[in-house]
């Protein structure tokens, strides 16, 4: 336990770069995100443009920074949404009688029939592609995942006497949930949140690729892959870099989740 798990370290390293770039983009990007510069189009990576430029001469580093920001924000919001609904639902399932919890469980699992791309497609048809649509679509899919984990973890906690003691001390159901159940089931939930964030990054990239997420001209990692796919032969870095950034984020989340799982396990 003295030496940190190498996976934790590696995961944090994978995430640190992209997150730093995303945060930096809030204040500064090397070039304007949508600034055209036809004279310098399709430049391979060099000192002035570390990630190169695209067919309109836009700086890929600046666009990637903004895209990372959108991806990370969407992934965090979606995971948060899924956790915010799924965890209370799971605890309710654990706390209710088998006769009532079984249908609830089934109902939560029903959401698995709607992968994010389906939900996002419906929302995009109604409202056009939007980051909010992507958040809802991905977050909804996370609900049954968090519900399952929370239910399994909360079941033994609910039977403990300190829950009874807390009720006797005058805590209402929400107080017991917040002060006693959540802290005691936090470990598996944190692990799952990390893994789900990775899945959310993948899903967000897929949705923006299809145009069901954040709409252009705002740069998104998936949208860039879509735009630059045809330039694969002429300017492979345009396809390699955004995809590698997505992979790096997902890998970081997965490593972090795996490392935390072993670390937090009793």
């Amino acid at each position: 336990m003295n030496r940190p798990d190498p996976r934790l370290l590696l995961g944090a390293t994978c995430l640190a770069g992209p997150i730093a770039l995303a945060l930096l983009s809030l204040a500064w990007t090397p070039f304007a995100v949508n600034g055209l510069d036809i004279a310098h189009r399709l430049l391979p990576p060099d000192a002035a443009h570390p990630f190169g430029t695209d067919g309109f001469g836009r700086d890929l580093l600046s666009r990637s920074m903004a895209g990372l920001r959108a991806t990370i924000a969407t992934a965090l919001a979606a995971t948060g949404l899924g956790a915010a609904i799924g965890i209370p639902l799971g605890i309710t399932i654990a706390a209710s009688h088998e006769r009532r919890s079984a249908p609830l469980r089934r109902l939560a699992d029903l959401v698995f029939a709607f992968p994010p791309v389906l939900t996002a497609a419906m929302l995009a048809a109604l409202w056009g592609g939007s980051a909010a649509g992507a958040v809802v679509a991905i977050g909804a899919f996370d609900v049954p995942v968090f519900a399952r984990i929370a239910a399994a973890a909360a079941l033994p906690v609910l039977a403990q006497d300190f829950i009874a003691a807390s009720r006797l001390a005058g805590r209402g159901p929400l107080g017991v949930l917040w002060w006693h159940i959540l802290p005691n089931i936090a470990a598996p939930l944190i692990v799952q949140a990390s893994l789900q964030a990775g899945i959310a990054v993948l899903a967000e990239a897929g949705l923006t690729y299809l145009g069901f997420g954040l709409p252009p001209p705002a740069p998104s990692l998936g949208g860039m892959l879509k735009d630059y796919q045809s330039a694969l032969g002429a300017a492979p870095w345009l396809v390699l870099i955004p995809g590698a950034l997505v992979t790096l984020l997902v890998l970081g989340c997965n490593l972090l989740g795996d490392g935390l799982r072993d670390r937090l396990a009793r």
């Binding site: 029903l110 939900t119 497609a121 419906m122 990775g198 299809l210 396809v239 390699l240």
Partner: protein, 318 residues
Amino acid sequence: MDALTTLRSFASRLLWLALALLACSAITFAILDILPGDPARAMLGMNATDEALTALHAKLGLDRPPMMQYLAWLDDLAHLRLGTSMTYDIPVAQLLSGRLAITLPLAAGAMTIALSLGLPFGAIAARRRHRADGVMLDAAAQLLQSVPDFWLGIALVGIFALHWRFAPSGGFPGWAHPAAALGALVLPALALALPQAAVLMRVMRSALISIEPQDFIRSARARGLSPARIFLRHALPHALLPVLTIATMQISFLIGGAVVVETVFDLPGLGRMLFDAVGNHDLVVLRDLVLLVAAAITLLSMLAEWLATRLDPRGQPR
């Protein structure tokens, strides 16, 4: 399990399936037709005239109360009367059959590849976990499962289609040319399958590792059974259960992934149909299509779940 309980559990599953499909249709309907946002307006665009809107409302039945619309849709579905595409003005059913002929083989092929790569490599990685090659294998899987499938697809196109010219970079020649058609599906199926294979491999690996110290494996070893026999008769059946659970959940990922990958390879499958329906605001197609996909996932998941209970070496339905 005697015949009666088998029958009863089968009946209860069937009942649940019917309920689940009904719920899927309700969710789909609720999102598309009850959420704020006028489908007719979305279809006709912002500068549509009021008359055009009213006419389209009447044509789509949007002037009826939502409950009636829903029941009418259910009635159509029950009689397998799918709607008529607003864009192409051809029946959805006709559109579907051609699309399914691409998506089904693609998804089934991807699942087959994922299982046939993931399971053996998982077993190897578990066996050699203390050696350098086993550790490398696990690390490679960790990396591979983090790769977006559609990006992998683009990369495969770059390597095999553009560089080596092994395979077509996209498009679909139709099943009239079986060899060419299969060839067109190879790269997309690989793109879909490889990340999922990595996931399955890691599940298989950890399942086998966690089984190893258990009593029944030890006693089999003490009885002098050969390692191969222990693996096939004792370890494998136990490890398959978690693998199957994960594979079930992957059905959803595979079908979601197929939508994106089909777009990468310009395959006119269900995914492209979904993509086009959204682009054209064709809510009639979208509604039937979403329900079809959700129903397929539900059905397949249930089948896999049923298979898992049969496979469970503890012999008790869970």
